[in-house]
């Protein structure tokens, strides 16, 4: 190796670290050597001027954490999927029905998670998938609804996400859902708390940088519910929103509140084009 190539290499080596160690990497995600996950996609049209590319949070994690998601056996979130499958087949409520009584196999729900949150004509509001599950429980099964991100909600959402893995997120933002979507967008760009931060301050303007010891991702929710190593359980999107807003030192909305439903719709729409990835594994 002569001096010229040496200096070229060191020039490249010098140039790279300035991008920061926290940037999204170039690995590819294939689950069970079978399900190809789109983890980088051109940004949907409504993000014109804000982002060029949408990137799954998977890219911002260490190789070891990434590997846990590549095999269902290694993914602790799949334990909840098994619980969800049991719930799917459990007869509950006054009508003597389980989810399976109407829907059959849980695999038949492939693609459903990809389009939620979604406008519900009968209720005339945007439904998250948890709300839709509760609608079924109350009106078809005669069973008690689950609280947002509690009880059976998370395992059921994990099950519904797992059968849709690999399918592109495609939530509708026009038509009757548009007003809710606009509300969600407003919340996304509203600064809150003593730290005066909006979602965009971190996840749009500074993704790829460090926030103290952690990597900032784009805050995509295509991988929810997410198994977090820090609390060793599956976390719902609303609970995560709450955590983020709390970290801005603000009073937060509650999981299941209309504000968080709107925010979930908006944040999900920012990931239109990425694959459904849940249950994912993150820090």
């Amino acid at each position: 190796m002569n001096f010229k190539t040496m200096s070229l290499i060191s020039a490249v080596a010098l140039a790279l670290p300035t991008l920061g160690m926290a940037d999204a990497d170039d690995d590819t995600l294939v689950i069970n050597e079978e399900i190809k996950i789109v983890t980088k996609a051109p940004a949907p049209a409504h993000l014109d001027g804000a982002l060029d590319e949408v990137i799954s949070g998977w890219h911002f994690r260490a190789d070891g954490t990434q590997a846990m998601e590549m095999d269902d056996f290694d993914n602790p979130g799949m334990l909840a999927v098994e619980t969800g499958e049991e719930l799917w087949n459990t007869v509950e409520g006054s009508e003597d029905k389980s989810c399976a009584s109407c829907h059959g196999d849980s695999a038949s729900m492939a693609g459903v998670k990809a389009v939620y949150p979604k406008w519900n004509d009968a209720a005339e509001e945007v439904y998250t998938i948890q709300m839709q599950v509760n609608d079924c429980r109350e009106n078809r099964m005669g069973a008690e609804p689950w609280k947002t991100d509690k009880g059976g909600s998370i395992p059921m959402e994990a099950l519904l996400a797992s059968v849709s893995r690999g399918m592109p997120v495609n939530v509708a933002i026009d038509g009757p859902a548009q007003a809710t979507w606009e509300h969600g967008k407003e919340l996304y760009y509203t600064r809150t708390g003593q730290l005066d931060l909006s979602c965009a301050s971190c996840h749009e303007d500074n993704y790829g940088n460090m926030i103290r010891a952690d990597h900032l991702s784009q805050g995509q929710i295509n991988g929810f519910p997410t198994y977090r190593l820090k609390n060793a359980k599956l976390n719902g999107a609303h609970s995560r929103f709450k955590g983020c807003i709390r970290d801005t030192r603000a009073e937060t909305y509650s999981p299941g509140s209309p504000e968080f439903v709107a925010l979930e719709l908006y944040v999900a729409s920012r990931g239109n084009g990425l694959s459904v990835e849940g249950p994912s594994v993150r820090n």
Binding site: F73, D74, P76, L79, E82, A232
Partner: protein, 109 residues
């Protein structure tokens, strides 16, 4: 028996004689450390898996002592040489005396 405990094992169904195979095991268990307190300030009693063993045709492959600092749903991945056809026996021992078992047969071929 603690709630929601379910052992899982991933082992190859077939191996060539003398092959080194990778075994993965996971048991869903809350692994309550005994250090935490409940809302009223009382200690939550320890409840963990305290021992895990794996044997092939009765011959020990690993024998692990687990301590209270090991997190929920303990996962083990290790390798073993398969000399002949036989059964892998996996055993987990709970603090409360429960024993959970799983068995996987490996054929030669």
């Amino acid at each position: 028996m603690a709630d929601g405990v379910k052992p899982r094992v991933k082992a190859p169904k077939k191996a060539a004689a003398g092959d080194v195979v990778t075994l993965k095991t996971l048991i869903s268990h809350k692994m309550e450390s005994g250090q935490r307190k409940d809302k009223d300030g009382n200690l939550i009693p320890r409840s963990i898996i305290n021992r895990f063993t794996c044997a092939f045709n009765g011959k020990s492959i690993v024998d692990v002592t687990l301590e209270a600092a090991i997190s929920t749903n303990p996962y083990f991945e290790f390798e073993a040489t398969i000399p002949e056809a036989g059964d892998l026996e996996f055993t987990w021992y709970d603090d409360d005396g429960s024993v959970y078992e799983d068995k996987k047969s490996v054929a030669i071929g």
